[in-house]
Amino acid sequence: MEPLVIESLSKDYDGFRALDSLSLKVEAKSCTGFLGPNGAGKTTTIKILTSMLRATGGRAFLNGVDVTTDPKEALARVGAVVETPEFYPELTPIETLDYFARLRGIPSDRAKSRVMQVIDQVKMGEWKDQRIGKFSKGMKQRIAIAQALLHEPDLLVLDEPTAGLDPRGMAEVRDIIKALRLQGYTVFMSSHLLFEVQQLCDKVAVVDKGKLLIYDTVQNLSTKRHVLKLEVDLVGKIDTETYTKVCALDKVNGVQCPTATKMLIDFDGDTADRRTLLESLQRLGLQVYSFADAGVALEEFYMDLIKESR
């Protein structure tokens, strides 16, 4: 059974359709990126999953329980971070986490050590007995992550976990997520940053205007989708004749030359084709000293996807 199953979920805000019959299944032990530009409907989806919004239509199952009808049971083994939550300013991190531990049924003797454990995990040990009222946004975000991990949930739902943090905070949160993946957590995280999803996730669901546009592995997106862009650096300049020959090579869709010693090749083949291409280039007399994935193709693909849905 998948830890998260979304079935044609819809949400209207006063007649505006923010979520349009979205369906998605998240596999156990995967890290699924929920990618989309601002206003795509990511937070709306996650708020429905965490019983903050009522769906206009559809259902969502968390560990097999429909959250739209039985939120208490459905959320039992889920940890969530939505937006940047605030905590009761008059309590300390220890008291706050102890409160959540009690609500989730962790017995008090175990809760004590577990609370300390997650506080260390998010590096808040130094602040554990200070009132949260004076904490910065980044510190609150760490407490938010700590409370999501407290009960070792089967599913982690994170809404733009790095949004609003400074670069170091972002890197730290990404490291925490990477570590969680290694520990075997199932993670469902939204983001508007493609590279973040590429870096952290193995699957990606692209959403825009409340609709699911594509759902695949990150790997497949760049290979199967024929969207590889190769960056080729040469010793010596390329001439028009060679350029025409390169364009005519097998599985080459287009060639741009930003400078006379650099080619960007739109390539539509697998790794074996790629090897053949390199040999062909050398056979043409080109002195290739660098031949690599330009890494921009997925970005273009993503932009195209979103443009089409607009």
């Binding site: 965490t50 939120p71 208490k72 959320l75 889920v78 309590l91 009960h151």
Partner: protein, 286 residues
């Protein structure tokens, strides 16, 4: 009680009742931390000191052998409506709205807990704090009465019990406003204005127009001090008293115990139901 599920090894969720207790405790701790209890303790201490300190300068405490202790206690209850309204405003006004306007709901709502349990926990914690303050005030009254007259009258207990009922109704109204409003400040201000101006002013206007303000909650507050008019029921003020002062006659309406209980209970039930339904359905927007 099993702590973990034998099959899955995962923690077993506490019952709704256990969660309500947990919420009540934490909300009460928050109340302590926010120093509101301390401020109310100071308020009742100051008011008590004033009520006790002033009479000796103007001929001493009431000396009537029977009615003395009653009017002594009644001096304490002359400001009690204001105290109760303050309690309702500060323990009810922001209780629910703050989860939405202060964004703390983003942390609380994803927990496996029913909104109804959160609601009950918050309500119990606020009630507890209010009853503590009110109880402390009545204990001061009782202790002073024993110290000055060497006696205690049962009507003080009646007065206290009615005060608790009236206060609960006021708290219910504050909760309803808190569930409905968008911001914490507007909830506090609206609750305050509603009780102190709207309801009180309406009572005054209606009295002037010779209409009994029976359905108004604040009208019923009078029962609290009416109990201390003298031995109950003989001295309890009549529902209506007519006065004629030089060509100008007017009527004073006094609340009655029975109607007081009914009206307060209706306000309590209706406002809490409204607060509950709105809070349960309210979405975490923005």
């Amino acid at each position: 009680m099993a702590v973990t599920n034998a099959e899955t090894g995962k923690y077993v969720l506490p019952s709704d009742f256990d969660q309500i207790i947990t919420v009540t405790r934490v909300e009460f701790l928050r109340n302590l931390r926010r120093k509101r209890l301390l401020i109310f303790a100071i308020i009742i201490a100051l008011v008590s000191a004033l009520v006790l300190a002033v009479p000796p300068f103007f001929g001493g405490y009431p000396s009537d052998p029977i009615l003395g202790p009653y009017s002594f206690a009644q001096n304490f209850t002359s400001t009690i409506n204001f105290l109760i309204i303050l309690l309702a405003v500060f323990y009810g006004g922001d209780a629910l709205v703050s989860e939405f306007s202060n964004k703390t709901g983003y942390a609380i709502f994803p927990n496996p807990i029913r909104r109804s349990s959160l609601f009950m926990g918050k309500l119990f914690s606020s009630l507890l704090a209010c009853v503590l303050v009110l109880g402390a005030y009545y204990i001061i009254i009782a202790a002073s009465m024993i110290a000055v007259y060497g006696t205690l009258v049962i009507e003080l207990l009646y007065s206290f019990l009615f005060a608790v009922l009236y206060m609960s109704a006021c708290l219910g109204v504050a909760f309803a406003i808190s569930a409905l409003m968008k911001s914490t400040v507007s909830a506090l201000v609206l609750t305050f204005v509603l009780f102190l101006f709207v309801l009180s002013m309406l009572s005054g206007i209606l009295m002037f127009a010779k209409v009994r303000a029976e359905p108004l909650l604040t009208f019923q507050a009078g029962v609290i001090s009416s109990f201390l008019n003298g031995p109950y029921p003989g001295f309890f003020p009549p529902p209506e008293q007519s006065y004629n002062v030089t060509r100008f006659d007017f009527v004073v309406y006094n609340p009655t115990v029975m109607n007081g209980i009914i009206v307060c209970t209706v306000w309590l039930v209706v406002s809490l139901l409204l607060a509950y339904v709105v809070f349960r359905r309210r979405e975490m927007l923005g």
